[in-house]
């Protein structure tokens, strides 16, 4: 069977599995729709959280980014895993004890204020939308490359599947579907990585393989060879990177805190039976995430060595284009690889200086990697199925946050307090349908800045939610005035900085113009600090939170009597 045949088979089988689970786990009540009745075991919840968190960006783009960034790629690895530690230690157990469905619910009740709740709902919807648009695009790209349909058909196909199980199944359906998706995506990620690690270093464990010696008999370490190649070709050393230390620091911090503040990840911890399980869930989630995240840098360096080798040739003189391997011409058709024979010798050459003749899109590295290493067709198809699983699981989780925010936080708690359970569920499904239509539209007509938008989502989550949730738990006296002032300060500051450098004046987006050398990707950290300062300052001036709120905070601090998640 050829690549396309295998792709149809594997993607088709995985879809049948997801839809089967969605039907089996259909939600009957609002509670099941929102939090799966609180009855999901910690290990399963950990896997689902991992699938929820690892989006098309983690699966498809991250290794490619690291491959081109070298050491600097560590910001994503440390940022996205380190955020889980904050989540597990400082947020998850307390929010589970609080026992409501959503982040805006917590903020609204803890700060006894509809205004605070509304600000939180708007932040949640905005963060989720920016995220989901990129996911739909990811599904479209994978489909259009491997099924050879155009991208519109690809996005619409993906949209139908997400709609089907998110809207019918709700959280319970999603949780078990995501467990299946995790298994598919991790298998799809590890199989080619192990194959390539064996081929290149003879070590079957990719995490160890990229620190091992090459299998070509030279006895040189892989990373040493990569550093040598990089400097020879006019790049900075692979293990050193380009960014300034302060920027690496701030970006890592923003990603960490942003992770901990993402509403679709936090909501996961409401689905476990009790506080002890919420703690365990976060641990398991990180185990499952770490399997992919420690493999990614290995894949990145293998891909880099392989790619330079196949383009520049073993002698470093460049390979004649007419004799180039298939993957180069395949990806040239999609426009994601381009070759321009500048010196007219008919040979390709890749480098970081004026000799360079290749344009290579970073996003193709994971998808092209098995082809570069000449792996069998079914492995390539498996990677496609994994990419689709990653994109679908994240979009479904985000859609649920959008629909919950609208039906529960906005309608039930704000505008229409008298609607019944059944009506609320109906509104949730309508909201999900509208949400997915908007997301699909954005996926088909991307605003041209999907990558920037992701940085935006993290910066906003870091600068808006994280400080007020932390203060809500650890600072009993914090009052509503402080919280609202903090959220507004953080989000307005961060959004203005990003909008200025990314959209209004992109020409000025250079380290010389940045404040203290902090790029827009890392500015969420400063926004977060301003949020804390504004909240504490305003609280000092406006007095303490009322006594019944202090009692509420007191009761969050120990697990006894957690019970099931309460809705109303």
């Amino acid at each position: 069977m050829d690549i396309q045949g295998w792709t149809f088979l594997l993607v088709g089988l995985s879809f049948a599995l997801y839809i089967g689970i969605a039907i089996w786990a259909r939600a009957g009540t609002t509670k099941e729709f929102y939090v799966a009745g609180g009855g999901v075991p910690a290990v399963a919840n950990g896997m689902a959280t991992a699938a929820d968190w690892m989006s098309a960006a983690s699966f498809i783009s991250m290794a490619g980014l690291i491959s081109f960034m070298g050491y600097d790629g560590g910001v994503y690895l440390m940022g996205w895993t380190g955020g889980y530690v904050l989540l597990a230690l400082c947020l998850a157990p307390y929010l589970r004890k609080f026992g409501k469905f959503t982040v805006p619910d917590f903020i609204g009740d803890r700060y006894y204020s509809q205004t605070a709740r509304t600000v939180a709902v708007i932040c949640a919807i905005f963060v989720s939308f920016t995220y989901v648009a990129g996911q739909m695009r990811g599904v479209g790209v994978v489909f259009s490359r491997f099924l050879e349909v155009d991208i519109v058909t690809g996005v619409i196909l993906g949209m139908c599947v997400v709609f089907f199980y998110a809207v019918l199944g709700g959280m319970k359906g999603i949780t078990y579907t995501q467990v299946a998706q995790y298994c598919v995506l991790i298998f799809a990620y590890l199989v080619p990585a192990v194959f390539i690690s064996m081929l290149m270093t003879g070590n079957p464990v990719p995490q160890l393989g990229f620190g091992d010696t090459l299998a070509d008999g030279s006895g040189a370490y892989l990373l040493d060879k990569l550093d040598g190649l990089s400097t020879e070709l006019g790049f900075t050393e692979y293990t050193s990177g380009n960014k300034s230390m302060i920027d690496v620091f701030f970006i890592t911090f923003a990603l960490m805190v942003g992770t901990a503040g993402l509403p679709h990840v936090i909501v996961r911890f409401f689905t476990v039976p009790n506080v002890a399980d919420a703690r365990r869930s976060a641990g398991w989630a990180l185990v499952f995430i770490a399997i992919l995240y420690t493999t990614a840098p290995a894949v990145a360096s293998f891909a880099r060595v392989n790619m330079i080798g196949t383009i520049n040739g073993a002698d470093g003189q460049g390979v004649v284009h007419a004799e180039a391997p298939n993957w180069i011409s395949n990806w040239q058709k999609t426009g994601l690889i381009a070759w321009e024979d500048k010196n007219g010798d008919g040979r390709m050459f890749y480098s970081g200086d004026e000799r360079n003749e290749m344009q290579i899109d970073r996003d193709i590295m994971v998808l092209a990697n098995p082809e570069i290493a000449n792996l069998p067709a079914w492995v390539i198809a498996l990677v496609a199925a994994g990419g689709v699983a990653a994109a679908l699981s994240t979009s479904a989780g985000l859609l649920l946050v959008i629909s919950t925010s609208i039906s529960h936080d906005l309608l039930k708690r704000n505008l229409m307090p008298n609607i019944t359970d059944k009506q609320e569920l109906l509104y949730a499904r309508i909201a999900a349908a509208c949400g997915i239509s908007v997301a699909a539209y954005l996926g088909i007509h991307p605003p041209g800045f999907v990558a920037q938008v992701v940085a935006f989502a993290f910066g906003l989550a870091a600068s808006s939610f994280f400080p007020v949730i932390i203060l809500g738990i650890f600072h009993k006296r914090m009052n509503k005035e402080g919280a609202i002032a903090g959220m507004l300060t953080g989000i307005v500051f961060t959004a203005s900085y990003i909008i200025y450098f990314k959209f209004i004046n992109p020409a000025a987006n250079t380290p010389d113009n940045w404040w203290f050398g902090i790029s827009p990707e890392g500015i969420g950290t400063l926004g977060m600090i301003f949020n804390f300062l504004a909240a504490l300052g305003v609280q000092k001036m406006t007095g303490e939170a009322p006594d019944h709120i202090k009692d509420l905070v007191e009761s969050l601090r120990y697990p006894k009597g957690s019970g099931e998640a309460q809705g109303h």
Binding site: Y71, T81, L89, G211, L223, A276, R279, Y558
Partner: protein, 90 residues
Amino acid sequence: MSFQTDEHAKAYWKENLRLLLILLVIWFVVSFGFGILLVEPLNAIKLFGFKLGFWFAQQGSIYVFVVLIFVYVKKMKALDRKYNVHEDQD
């Protein structure tokens, strides 16, 4: 109030915060310390084919993170039992 006395409640929270502080210091040291601020001196040390600073940024910090969460789970379980505020199930 589920604690026997106010003093118990205060002591429980204090022990909880102490544990958090210790774990967060380790969290900061392995990632921001070894992976970013001290990356250059550590890169002079080699562990097999890895420069140590680079290894912490791309591998080591993640392994430590996983261990930190499970240590937290275990310690908190013991703390909940000590002050008798654990949930019934386990």
